[in-house]
């Protein structure tokens, strides 16, 4: 059990691949088929391409505020891939990689960030919650979903996400405590990307690692190299399996770095040195994985080019599909507050429609 080997109070990252894609712990290479490996790589690429396209749409004034996750692809794809189909995905707001693994259509994601609530209408059959903006509040939902599984005797697991900043919220504490007390099958993944907007990790908490916060709840915690997709996957898989066996929740700190801005409204030069970013660039999780796959002879440049092009086409066509065709229907503003619209809302809707029609 890796959780027993890695003491969360020590700054010792669980790692399978080093930044050059060299294998550090051969016995820990997950038993993936080539197909699976390429799928994982492709999903990371997909995420990266979508992020970059969206940033450029934003610069062109075609997109609203957007939160890219460049640099965090391994942390997301690796952890989400440890889920079974029936497991629940509970994101924070920067989990593009996770969405893609979970099968949430790109169109939803674009609709959401384009300012339309239909983006949060996860298609039936996909067990995922929508974006949660109030930091750490979603962890309570994850705990509740897990508790419900125990009550119902279902074996599905919940994988839930939060940032390093989010660990300071009261809701983080309460959710982890509930999950541990009720042995809820939840894997809490902290994407420690070193910043909460401008506030660096070291000012967020005085604990040496975030993983060690697990001790407060009597649950296992592990610090993993978040840019190493194998390490993230292994830790997540072990935690998911534990949870499914009824052994309760786990805390995983995925140590990574946000290479881009917090959102498109943010200017990171205000609070961090460019050197720092440059130092992290060679640790890019996609690069590392690519080197490994190339060394193994699984990835070819031709495949990569073709795949990138396909993915990019998909991104572009999805965005163009929703662009400027996404205004909210007036009815939709009112319709979803209650199963049956109460009279005062009906009245407000009618009045407003009649105002628009220029009537009384």
């Amino acid at each position: 059990m890796r959780f027993e080997i890695y003491d969360p109070t020590e700054i010792k990252h669980y790692r399978v691949l080093d930044p050059n894609g060299e294998v550090v712990t051969e016995e820990d290479i997950p038993p993936f088929s080539d197909e699976e490996l390429l799928y994982l790589y492709k999903t990371m690429l997909f995420s990266r391409i979508m992020d970059e396209r969206t940033l450029s749409y934003q610069r062109q004034g075609r997109m609203l505020t957007y939160a890219p996750n460049i640099g965090q692809e391994a942390a997301q794809v690796g952890s989400a891939y440890a889920m079974e189909d029936n497991d629940w995905f509970v994101p924070s707001f920067r989990e593009l990689g996770g969405w893609l693994v979970k099968g949430v259509p790109l169109k939803n994601i674009y609709l959401y960030w384009y300012g339309n609530e239909w983006g949060s209408h996860i298609p039936e059959g996909i067990k995922a919650l929508p974006v949660s903006v109030p930091i750490a509040s979603q962890l309570q939902h994850a705990a509740g979903i897990g508790m419900a599984n125990n009550i119902k005797g279902e074996k599905d697991v919940v994988v839930a996400y939060v940032g390093d900043g989010g660990t300071s919220q009261g809701d983080f504490h309460e959710a982890l405590n509930f999950a541990a007390v009720f042995k809820a099958p939840v894997v809490f993944v902290v994407q420690n990307n070193q910043y909460a907007i401008s506030v660096p990790r070291k000012e967020q908490t005085a604990s040496k690692t975030i993983a060690q916060k697990a001790i407060a709840y009597g649950m296992p915690g592990i610090l993993v190299d978040g840019n190493d997709i194998f390490a993230v996957y292994n830790a997540s898989k072990e935690a998911v399996d534990r949870a499914r066996r009824g052994e309760g929740p786990t805390l995983i700190e995925a140590y990574t770095y946000r290479l881009g801005a917090h959102t498109t409204s943010d200017d990171p030069t205000k609070y961090r040195e460019n050197e720092e970013v440059e130092k992290w660039k060679p640790k890019d999780p996609i690069l590392r994985f690519k080197k490994y796959l190339q060394k193994k002879g699984i990835l070819t440049e031709e495949w990569e080019e073709k795949t990138k092009k396909e993915l990019d086409d998909q991104v572009v066509s999805t965005f163009e599909e929703i662009e400027n065709k996404s205004d909210t229907l007036i009815e939709d503003i009112f319709k979803y507050h209650y199963e049956t619209m109460p009279p005062h809302l009906e009245e407000q809707l009618e009045e407003y429609k009649s105002f628009l029609e220029g009537g009384k």
Binding site: E347, E351, F355, K360
Partner: protein, 64 residues
């Protein structure tokens, strides 16, 4: 867009209720006019200030 409009047309008249603004009611009181006796000429039979002045005038004339 206001909800202010009353729609008394669909209403069954309840025991001789008078429609009037607070200002009109006060005016009637101040002038010593019984507002329930006035036939309003406003929308839906609402007693308007002019109705009250008119009634007052008529009362005064009657007295003369």
């Amino acid at each position: 867009s206001t909800e202010g409009q009353v729609v008394p047309t669909q209403e069954k008249p309840k025991k001789s209720k008078v429609l009037a603004t607070p200002v009109a009611r006060k005016l009637a009181k101040d002038l010593g006019v019984d507002i329930t006796k006035i036939k309003g000429t406003g929308p839906n039979g609402r007693v308007m200030k002019e109705d009250i002045y008119r009634t007052k005038e008529e009362m005064t004339k009657e007295v003369e």
